[in-house]
Symmetry: C2
Subunit: 318 residues, 2 copies
C-alpha cells in the first residue's frame, strides 16, 4: 500500500468522508504501518457513539433485525454504523457463514456505514479490534454503532465486551439452544429478543427464558426483559429500541456506563502491553533457548522450570 | 491446607496411590503453594499416556460413549483416567451443566480414575490446566486419558489442544448444529462419531457431514471418518477404538505426535511466561499510572500512547 498521509486521512475521517473511513478501517484491521498513529490521532474525536451488540445463533434473523433497527434510528436522523462480524475458522482462516443476509436496503443511505469484519480465527484480540473499527466510525460521526455477529463461542463474549448494550436474539425453536447457550449468551444479554414470534412455541419459549433469567444473579440491578419481535414484518422493533434507551439510562445512573467503558479500556491496555512484552521477550536468544529445550531437555526439565530460567534475566533487570 | 510433604506425595503418586493422585490434582487445580514444585517433581514420570478428547453438543451422549470406550480399554487391561470438564459461567462462576450422566459403573474399578474439572469461567489457560491434571494421572500410571467436555465455544478448542486424538460427537437431529459448529468442532475432529445412529436421519446426517468434511482442507494428510454408534446399546464403540489406534499410528509416522506435543509445550511455556510477566509488569507504580490515566487522561491520550509510555521503562532495562 502507498504511504499514508496521516494528517489528511484523519481530517477527512473527522469531516465524515466515507472513503477515508473505509480506508482507515482497512489500515487498522490489517495493522498496517502507521495504524497506531492513526488511532492516536483520532483519539480525541472518539467517545460520542452508543454501541449495541446483536448476537444469537445462526438463523435467528439478526441481519433483518439489525436492518430494521438501523432504519428506526435513521427516522430520527441518527447516523448508524454497522459492523458485521463474520466468524472465520481458527484452523483454515476461511470465512464460515456465507449466508449472511446483506443489508441491501441500507447501502444507498448516506447516513449508514456498513462494514464486514472477519474474526480471522484468532479470537484473542477480537474485542480490541472490534472496538478500534467502531472507534473510526465514531470519529467519523456515526452516533449509533451496531455490532452484528453470530453467537458461536467466544465471539459473542468479545462483542459483548465491545458493546454498551448487548441484545441476544433467539427463535421459538431454540429450546435446545437455551441449554447450549447457557455457557455465554444467557449472561451477556442486556435485552433478549425472541424473534419470529409468530411461530409456534413463542410464548412457551418466552416463559422458559424468563424463568432461566430469573435464576441468574444479575451483575448490576438490571433485569433483562424478553421482547417478542417479527423482524421481517417490522413488528416489535420500536419496543426493543425503547428498551435500549432504558438500558442506556440505567447505565448513565451511578456512572455505570463510564465504569463499564473504563473496564474495557483497562482490558485493552493490558492486551496491548502483553502483546508488546511478548514480542520484546521472545528475542533470538530466548527463542534459541526454547528450541534447545525442545531438542534436549523437555523430558528432564518441566516447562515451569524452563519458564523460570527464561524469566530470571528479566527480573534481575528490574 | 496443611503443609505438603512434596517428596512423599510424589512417591505415592508414582506408585499409583489414588488418594495421593486426587490430592495432587486438587493442589494443582487450585494452584496452591508448591504446585509448581509438585509438577516439576513429577515431570520425569510424564509422557507415557495417550490422550483422547471427546466433545460435542449437549445431549450427544458423550458420557455414555466415554463410559463404553473406557470399558473396552479395561478389557485390554489398560488403565484409564477420565477428566470430565464442566463449563462454568464466565460471569457467575457457577457450574452450568448439572445433567452430566455420572459414570457410576466405572467408579468401583480400581483401574479407572475419574475426575471432574471446572473451567472456572476463565477460559484462558484451560488447555494448560487440563494438561496438568492429565500429567498427574499420567505420572500415576494411567495409560489412556480421556477428556470429556461439552462443545461450547472455546472449551472444545482448548481440549483439542490438550488431546492427541479428538473425537467430535453428534446426533442425527443436529442439522442446525452443523451450521453452528462450523466455527470450531468441524475442524478439531480427528474422528467424528454419529451417536444415536438408530434415530431417523442418521444416514442423511452422515452424508451431510462427510460432504462438509470433504470441503475442508486437512492440516495433515489425515482424513477424518464419520462413524455411527449407539452408545447406550454398546454398538460401534470397538470401531471407534480401532480408528483411534489408526490415528495414533498416523501421528507416529513422520514424528507428527511429537511435533503436536511440542507445539502444545511451546504454547504452555508462552502462557507461563506471559502470566509471570504480567504480574511482574503490573507493579504498584504502573497500576498507579494506569489509574491516573483513567482519572485524568483517557480522553486526551490513546491507550496505545499509554501502553508505549508504560513499556518504555522496561525497554531501557533490556
Amino acid at each position: 500500500m502507498e504511504q499514508i498521509n496521516l494528517k489528511k486521512l484523519q481530517q477527512e475521517i473527522i469531516r465524515g468522508s466515507r472513503l477515508a473511513t473505509a480506508r482507515a478501517i482497512t489500515v487498522i484491521e490489517d495493522e498496517r504501518d502507521g495504524f497506531t498513529d492513526l488511532l492516536n490521532s483520532l483519539h480525541k474525536n472518539i467517545g460520542k457513539s452508543y454501541r449495541i451488540g446483536v448476537t444469537g445463533p445462526p438463523g435467528a434473523g439478526k441481519s433483518t433485525f439489525t436492518n430494521q433497527l438501523a432504519k428506526l434510528y435513521r427516522k430520527q436522523n441518527k447516523t448508524v454504523g454497522i459492523i458485521a462480524v463474520d466468524p472465520t475458522s481458527p484452523y483454515t482462516g476461511g470465512a464460515i457463514l456465507g449466508d449472511r443476509v446483506r443489508m441491501v436496503e441500507l447501502t444507498s443511505d448516506k447516513g449508514v456505514f456498513i462494514r464486514s469484519m472477519a474474526t480471522r480465527g484468532n479470537l484473542g484480540g477480537l474485542a480490541r479490534r472490534a472496538t478500534e473499527v467502531a472507534d473510526v466510525m465514531d470519529a467519523a460521526g456515526y452516533e449509533i454503532i451496531i455490532y452484528e455477529t453470530v453467537g458461536v463461542g467466544q465471539i459473542e463474549l468479545d462483542i459483548a465486551e465491545a458493546a454498551d448494550t448487548t441484545i441476544v436474539m433467539i427463535v421459538p425453536e431454540g429450546g435446545d439452544i437455551i441449554q447450549g447457550m447457557k455457557a455465554g449468551l444467557m449472561e451477556i444479554g442486556d435485552i433478549f429478543v425472541l424473534n419470529k414470534a409468530d411461530r409456534p412455541g413463542a410464548d412457551r419459549m418466552q416463559k422458559d427464558l424468563e424463568y432461566v433469567l430469573h435464576l441468574r444473579k444479575p451483575l448490576l440491578e438490571w433485569y433483562p426483559k424478553v421482547l417478542q419481535t417479527q423482524s421481517h414484518k417490522n413488528i416489535g422493533i420500536e419496543v426493543v429500541k425503547e428498551e435500549i434507551i432504558n438500558h442506556e439510562q440505567f447505565l448513565l445512573k451511578d456512572n455505570q456506563l463510564e465504569i463499564k467503558r473504563d473496564r474495557r479500556l483497562i482490558k485493552r491496555i493490558r492486551q496491548l502491553v502483553e502483546k508488546e512484552m511478548q514480542s520484546y521477550f521472545w528475542n533470538d536468544n530466548r527463542k534459541k533457548i526454547l528450541n534447545e529445550y525442545l531438542l534436549n531437555d523437555k523430558e528432564s526439565m518441566s516447562p515451569y522450570v524452563l519458564s523460570e530460567n527464561l524469566l530470571k534475566e528479566l527480573k534481575i533487570n528490574e
